[in-house]
């Protein structure tokens, strides 16, 4: 088998493995979204959480502690909560914080780093700071963001059923039927993200990025895009970070574990679809800058973490 064919074979293996790994979390997300759609009264969240954006953003940032959904499942779930009246800034905060600020990720990170709870606390704290800041910025800047995002974030418009689509009878709507609809709404973007991630992992040498591991500033700058490219699940990325610990600074490892759950190739297409280009640009710019600065601060003040 030629080397190129072998690489494409690796690509298909990686692609299927990412899809298989994501499926449980996608199912959790689409069933949660379906339950929210069918069982939560319309505009329920108009009354709760509180209208004050700061308080609703803070509450949303901690929602993962009660509803531990990973990055694959949180976006469809957040979309349905938007439709029920959750403020957009709170929904964005939920999308960014919940995949990391939850008990499962805290325990997996502690396991990977042999009970280093300082590192766990810093990971959760850095994620919270990014999610809350972006949520607050989104609440202030939303009127100036693109119309598509404004529409999406205002919740789905009233549905006008085209002629070729038969609307379901209200009494005939089932949890499984709705979950199926949600599944086929998000799966295209998940598959697209998985394909791009697998292609990059197959054809871009990691050595290009990891070669600068010993320079503190450069190592942070190197591991952040690596995390975005690898798109590793939040329950698994700490084990990869641990493997890099011999060559990289604590700040760069934290940056790897924080930014990888906020900006990743696998969920990129779905995030774009959900929020639109300008919201995503805001998230990318603010999160990359803030995580980079926080990682440098960790390297300066806690170099032996």
């Amino acid at each position: 088998m030629s080397a190129l064919l072998a690489r494409f074979h690796d690509l298909s293996t990686l692609f299927i493995s990412i899809v298989l790994q994501s499926l449980p979390f996608i199912l959790i997300g689409v069933f949660a979204a379906a339950a929210a759609e069918l069982y939560l009264p319309a505009r329920l969240l108009d009354r709760w959480p509180p209208r004050r954006s700061t308080l609703s953003v803070l509450l949303a940032s901690l929602a993962g502690l009660a509803i531990p959904v990973c990055d694959c499942g949180v976006i469809p779930f957040a979309r349905r909560l938007l439709a029920k009246g959750l403020p957009p800034s709170a929904a964005i905060t939920l999308i960014l914080a919940a995949p990391v600020v939850n008990p499962i990720v805290a325990v997996s990170t502690a396991l990977a780093f042999q009970g280093n709870w300082w590192l766990v606390a810093l990971r959760l704290g850095m994620t919270l700071s990014v999610a809350v800041l972006i949520g607050l910025l989104a609440s202030r800047l939303s009127p100036w963001l693109e119309p598509k995002a404004a529409e999406v974030l205002a919740g789905p418009p009233p549905v006008t059923w085209p002629a070729e689509v038969s609307p379901p009878a209200p009494e005939g709507r089932s949890l499984v039927g709705r979950a199926s609809a949600e599944f086929f709404e998000v799966i295209f973007f998940i598959l697209l993200g998985a394909l791009v991630t697998a292609a990059v992992q197959t054809f871009v040498p990691r050595a290009l990025l990891t070669a600068v591991g010993h320079d503190r500033a450069l190592s942070v700058a190197a591991l952040m895009p690596l995390a975005t490219i690898l798109s590793i699940c939040s329950e698994a990325d700490a084990f990869i970070a641990r493997a890099l610990a011999g060559s990289f600074s604590p700040g760069s490892l934290l940056a790897f574990m924080v930014i990888g759950q906020i900006i990743d190739l696998r969920n990129g297409p779905l995030l774009l679809r959900t929020l639109g280009r300008r919201y995503v640009a805001l998230i990318v710019a603010v999160s990359y800058l803030l995580v980079f600065l926080e990682a440098q601060a960790v390297n300066k003040f806690a170099p032996r973490l």
């Binding site: 002629a163 199926s180 295209f188």
Partner: protein, 263 residues
């Protein structure tokens, strides 16, 4: 224009909803893919086997979803839609069904390929060679961990043993399997033994190298081999490399689970 279920009911017929039928097939396809991979043992080339119960549950749920969607389709019940999907139109929905179908065809028809040295993408395995930690005792016998009489069998057990014994494990007999790789700066009778460790799936694989020395004849790259020998230590560039002084190196078939797992 398609007939609605209500119109079909009025004329006494049933109109099978094409979308619901397609969803039923594709959801069942995911379930069938998982069942096939678990039954054939190929799942271990994609995922950590400790996740098999979770993956099996997902397969069953997707088969059940497919079955319920099929039953609803046959009854003429219209599919549910998200508002976004309705706005998308047939082109986008067709693309979704097409991409899902292609994914299933790849999963069902293309056998997974175990990662080998090509997955290093040009990276030198030297930076992944296992070393003794700086805090490990430096002389043999300076640890309280008793060396087992039988050879340590395979890399997982070796790593677990050395995490307790440190350099006190030097001299212990071992039998490890892995892929033959190449690395710069090694002697003519040395090669790095390559294994990949995965936490969840192949996408998070990371390489692990183990230096093998005293090899009579270097095997072909990417050949699976079983190495028997004793643990030793090699100082290279300031690092104390973990090495196996080989007494035998023999080619073997790829093992059923080719990857290492941290849990």
């Amino acid at each position: 224009m398609n007939e609605t279920p209500a119109q079909a009911a009025e004329r006494g017929g049933r109109n099978i909803d094409a979308d619901r039928l397609m969803r039923a097939l594709l959801l069942s396809g995911f379930g069938a893919l998982i069942v096939k991979l678990l039954a054939s043992g190929e799942m271990s080339r994609y995922m950590n086997p400790s996740l098999n119960p979770l993956t099996a549950a997902v397969g069953l749920i997707m088969l059940a979803m497919g079955g319920l969607e099929l039953r609803a389709a046959v009854r003429g019940e219209a599919a549910d839609w998200t508002a976004e999907a309705v706005a998308d139109g047939w082109t986008e929905r067709g693309l979704t069904y097409g991409l899902v179908a292609v994914t299933l065809v790849i999963g069902l028809l293309v056998a997974p390929r175990t990662l080998d040295s090509a997955a290093l993408a040009g990276e030198d395995l030297a930076s992944y060679l296992l070393t003794f930690g700086p805090s490990a005792p430096v002389s043999q016998g300076s640890t309280t961990v008793v060396q087992p009489a039988r050879p340590i069998d395979d890399l997982s057990e070796l790593l677990s043993y050395l995490s307790r014994a440190g350099a006190g494990g030097v001299g212990q007999r071992v039998r490890v399997t892995g892929l033959v790789a190449r690395s710069g700066g090694l002697g003519l009778d040395e090669f790095p033994l390559l294994r990949f460790m995965i936490v969840h799936c192949v996408a998070d694989a990371r390489p692990i190298g183990l230096l093998v020395t005293h090899v009579a004849a270097l095997p072909e790259v990417d050949q699976w081999v079983e190495v028997e020998g004793v643990i030793s230590m090699r100082d290279r560039g300031g690092a104390r490399l973990l090495a196996i002084e080989a007494t035998s190196v023999r080619p073997i078939k790829e093992p059923p689970d080719p990857y290492l797992h941290p849990f």
